[in-house]
Symmetry: C2
């Protein structure tokens, strides 16, 4: 176990390194923080911290920088979440209140997060699978062509074209629409398959094919995991990554374009509370030198999706976590209102 002072030294190293982006030496440390001991003592502590793997030196006889393990300890034990100031909170609320629809909410959230954290922001659209159905609408576009529109409680709208095996009359369509809604409106997506199972039986034999087709399209839409979308913003902040970044930025941009990767990343995070993944804790190779701070957000007490930021491992964790948490909270409020 590390002594109290050594933890303080680690904290000081992380803070200074995050601020200056340069390896920090023993002398500078004692000057900028009142540790009450001399540089020589700090050097001993640093040697110990290095032995334990919390810090490292990029080159012999340069200062130390924190390792992923060091940041981990810092986040878990040494730093809290820095709350947003009251004016900041008001600004967040004002900005988000101006949104007109779901797309706009998500777009504004991305912008806001990117600006607050000066990092890359990622916001997942409210997930279909955890939402409830508000309404299912069926529109007849042609005798054997139906458009299926699914509206969720989070305001998301999905539509699908359905080619029917046989012409389908207006009356039957209205019938199906009514029965469908009376069964699934207000229910969770996961319950829908069970609820509509026996629906075809209520129809005339010649309509059953069409009903089955419509229903299977609906179920398809519900489970279609790859329809989980997300919005990204603030990529220009990547240019503040480091001095060497031609090589650093490339894989990150590539990873960000692979929405699958990001969705997986967000999916792995805890459903409640904040998740911080640091450097090599992230499985995807291109993101090995980044950290991801994510949190669930939702209209009720329950998370319907996640949002977060991607930045260099050398980031201001307390500030970033504060911003992410605050934004998630207000987005949840907005969604609950709409």
């Amino acid at each position: 176990m590390l002594s109290e002072r050594r933890l303080q030294v680690l904290r000081a190293i992380v803070q200074d390194y995050v601020g200056t982006e340069e390896p920090v030496g023993s002398k500078a440390l004692t000057e900028r923080h009142s540790l009450g001991v001399s540089p020589a003592t700090v050097r001993n502590d640093m040697a110990a911290l290095e032995d334990e793997g919390y810090i490292a030196q990029p080159h012999t006889s340069a200062g130390r920088i924190p390792t992923d393990k060091g940041y981990r300890l810092f986040v878990d034990k040494l730093a809290g979440v820095k709350p947003m100031s009251a004016p900041e909170r008001r600004a967040i609320q004002n900005f988000l209140d101006g949104a007109v629809d779901l797309d706009d909410v998500v777009a504004r959230t991305v912008r806001l997060l990117a600006q607050l954290t000066r990092q890359v922001a990622v916001v997942q659209y409210p997930s279909l699978t955890r939402s409830t159905v508000r309404h299912v609408e069926l529109l007849s576009l042609a005798p054997a062509r139906v458009m299926l529109v699914l509206i969720t409680d989070t305001g998301r709208v999905e539509q699908r074209m359905v080619d029917c095996p046989a012409p389908f009359g207006e009356a039957s369509l209205a019938d199906l629409r009514a029965r469908l809604n009376s069964r699934v409106a207000g229910r969770r997506f996961t319950d829908v398959p069970r609820l509509v199972e026996d629906l075809p039986e209520a129809f005339e034999i010649e309509d059953r094919g069409t009903v089955t087709t419509v229903l299977s399209t609906l179920l398809e839409t519900l489970v279609e995991e790859n329809e989980e979308r997300l919005m990204i913003g603030g990529t220009a902040n990547l240019t503040r990554f480091g001095h060497d970044f031609p090589l650093t930025i490339r894989p990150v941009l590539e990873a960000l374009e692979e929405q699958v990767v990001l969705l997986k990343l967000l999916g792995e995070a805890k459903d409640s509370g904040m998740t911080v993944r640091i450097g090599h804790e992230i499985a995807h190779e291109g993101l090995n030198s980044t950290s991801v701070v994510s949190v669930g957000y939702g209209s009720g007490g329950e998370a319907v999706a996640k949002l977060g930021v991607v930045g260099p491992t050398r980031m201001d964790y307390p500030g970033t976590m504060g911003a992410v948490r605050a934004v998630a909270r207000y987005v949840g409020q907005i969604l609950a209102e709409s």
Copy 2:
């Protein structure tokens, strides 16, 4: 007027520079192209081209690189559009055919363009203002709350929540839905205001407030220019920009995040035919060292939106133009089918 050979020299310079990314000298030119003259002659030609402002030397006694004016001449007079090969065309078609809905079409198009051109791809969603209405749906969510869903012929769906001034019965709602659709279905957006003008008069006095509210929300949705969305992809290709690019890439990323800028840019382009904007021809400062190749696409003969790529001025214009044109063509087909 420049002699034929001088134009050939310019063409050769552009081609070589695009290929090697390095200033090209007189000797290398004669070696790689059979111009039938000696380096000395080429030097004279180059001096002339430089006087005219078509090429420049980055430093005294280095090779020459084309100026924006040089690229302009190259694009207008010296190079055609390089058509895609048959296998490439098949690949494009196959890839786009797999799309399930409009979002997917756009997403795939972006991916495809970015891969084909190895540059940043920008695809505008089919514009509302030039489309026609396929269907307007009204859903009663609460006694005084209506959801308005607008479906366009390009498959785009817009929804808006409407808070009514007074409760609105199911019957009135059905009435409004029917009247509305009979008037506007299949009509162009621009005609809609005129067509629904006198609609409130057909309703009982107590419903008119609500009808008016719904209609104005509809009109709002139609004109809402800022709802013009676009999707961007292939930003990782920016890292191939140049060696110096920390400074170059930053403003470009920022400009790309400002969708307003991009929309303006696309909006300024010709409606039909391909538009190439080179370097300083682009008003926005951050994009001064880029070129934009854009073209309209649409389901009928008519363009409903634009797509294009953003890349360094030093790009393979014939190839890029070929890819952009081909993709636009196939996207148009896909939209027409759906």
